[in-house]
């Protein structure tokens, strides 16, 4: 997985006071990409039964979520915790 851009999410309201950025990837996310994100600390949910499977990694101060096949995933975080997760190794 290669991250090519980060954009402020237009849907921050949905997270009720959190900030969020959408992280854009060079290729659509596959199982291997999602597995590689799993090393990030937090509870991991992967709904493989869906036609477009959904995954989420959740910690107290952030949520990472996305859908297999999309070329982006979302990183939502409490305002003072943006730096809690580094995605540098994917850039």
């Amino acid at each position: 997985m290669k991250i090519i851009d980060r954009r402020k999410s237009l849907e921050t309201c949905t997270e009720s006071g959190w900030d969020a950025i959408d992280i854009l990837t060079e290729e659509p996310l596959n199982d291997e990409d999602i597995e590689s994100l799993r090393s990030i600390e937090g509870s991991f949910i992967y709904l493989r039964q869906l036609k477009k499977p959904f995954f989420k990694i959740e910690s107290h101060n952030y949520v990472i979520k996305g859908v297999r096949g999309d070329s982006f995933f979302r990183y939502a975080f409490h305002r003072e915790h943006q730096e809690d997760v580094s995605f540098d190794r994917f850039s």
Partner: protein
């Protein structure tokens, strides 16, 4: 794509609305009082005002003013009455378009009196009367239809209480205009704010407000009006409220939208949306692990809020949108105070909201998606 976010912005728009907008862009520009070009019987502004008046039961249509939407309208009204916040009553069902002006406008002081609601989002008028009796309240701002539970407030009773105690009655019809009956004059409404882009089926950035004849208020903005250009200073009264160049193409589209609603028939639209809402509630109730908010309401607007066990509303909305192409909305819905009372404090709800363009088959698809997600 299935669109269930009509309480935010209705989509799609009627064909006549699109045509009216494009026609307005092709035609010579309309300008209120600024050009001989507008001196014909096709004055888009007056026509739209008259149609809005017919739809909302307002006879004094010349006191309907255009603005960018109800947020601007509410700011103008709340700022303009010259009343401090601690003399204003509002409710926990209010949108931030009411709460934020009340708490932040530099021109008004103190904190408003906030009336609570029951678990369905309904506010008993007696609560208001109890406050009114104390003699301090000078104005009430009431959300007519909740954008969270769909609860429809008894505006007529609130109007009667307001009249009895000499309180200015301000009604926010952002969610009800175009889908529910409004009788502003009959209900004793002194001021009202509406937006064009929801059930009125117009464009984003259109809407406005109404202030009845005889109720003086100070403008929030000053500028060119095309009337008496030699006058610079306004004192006491005789103010003008539509300043700057108006969004004539948007107003032409809004006018066409209101005509479309009247042609369809308000009753027919209301009945169709009521059926869709009832159908959705019944279908959701049959899915395990779903809690519907405001399920005890007998009458409601075309809005259903719910949560599903094991899923944050934001996650459920994300999955529905990105895995199933179903557009909903999650969170607090810009209405932060109601959630404590209906049991959705913290993360809020997932909300689906309908227009008369939606179909039962779309609800069936969403239910299938929810069952698949629930596993």
């Amino acid at each position: 794509m299935i669109y269930f976010n009509n309480a935010a912005t209705s989509y799609p728009k009627p064909e006549t609305v699109k045509k009216a907008y494009l026609d307005a862009l092709e035609a010579l520009p309309s300008g209120q009082f600024r050009s001989a070009l507008s001196c014909d019987d096709a004055d888009v502004f007056s026509l739209c005002r008259n149609r809005l008046g017919s739809l909302m039961g307002i006879s004094g249509t010349d006191r309907i003013y255009f603005a960018s939407g109800s947020t601007e309208g509410l700011n103008v009204i709340i700022n303009g009455l010259g009343i401090n916040a601690d003399e204003i009553a509002a409710t926990v069902t209010e949108h931030n378009s009411v709460l934020r002006p009340l708490y932040n406008l530099p021109s008004i002081k103190g904190e408003p009196v906030i009336l609570s609601c029951d678990e369905n989002g309904y506010i008993p008028p007696e609560l208001f009367e109890n406050e009114a009796k104390k003699g301090r309240i000078k104005a009430l701002v009431l959300n007519h239809c909740s954008n969270v539970t769909g609860a429809i407030q008894d505006a007529k009773s609130f109007g009667e209480i307001s009249e009895r105690y000499g309180i200015i009655f301000i009604l926010d019809v952002s969610q009800s205009a175009g889908c529910l009956e409004i009788k502003a004059d009959e209900w004793g409404v002194d001021a009202l704010a509406f937006t064009g882009h929801k059930s009125l089926m117009g464009l984003q950035g259109t809407g406005g407000y109404y202030v009845r004849e005889g109720l003086s208020f100070i403008p929030l903005k000053y500028g060119g009006t095309g009337l008496d250009s030699s006058r610079i200073l306004y004192e006491d009264d005789g103010y003008e409220y539509e300043v700057g160049t108006q969004n004539s193409a948007g107003i032409a589209a809004l006018s066409a939208a209101v005509k479309w609603i009247m042609d369809q028939g308000m009753d027919a639209i209301s009945e169709k949306e009521k059926k869709l809402t009832g159908y959705a509630i019944d279908a959701l109730s049959a899915v395990g692990g779903i809690r519907i908010y405001g399920s005890g309401l007998r009458e409601r607007g075309p809005v259903v809020s719910f949560n599903m066990d094991g899923f944050a509303p934001a996650d459920l909305a994300y999955i529905l949108q990105n895995s199933f192409d179903i557009v909903t909305r999650s969170g607090l819905h810009c209405t932060p105070l109601i959630h404590k009372y209906i049991g959705s404090a913290g993360k809020g709800t997932l909300r689906i909201s309908f227009s008369c363009m939606n179909k039962e088959s779309e609800i069936d698809e969403m239910i299938s998606a929810l069952k698949e997600i629930a596993g």
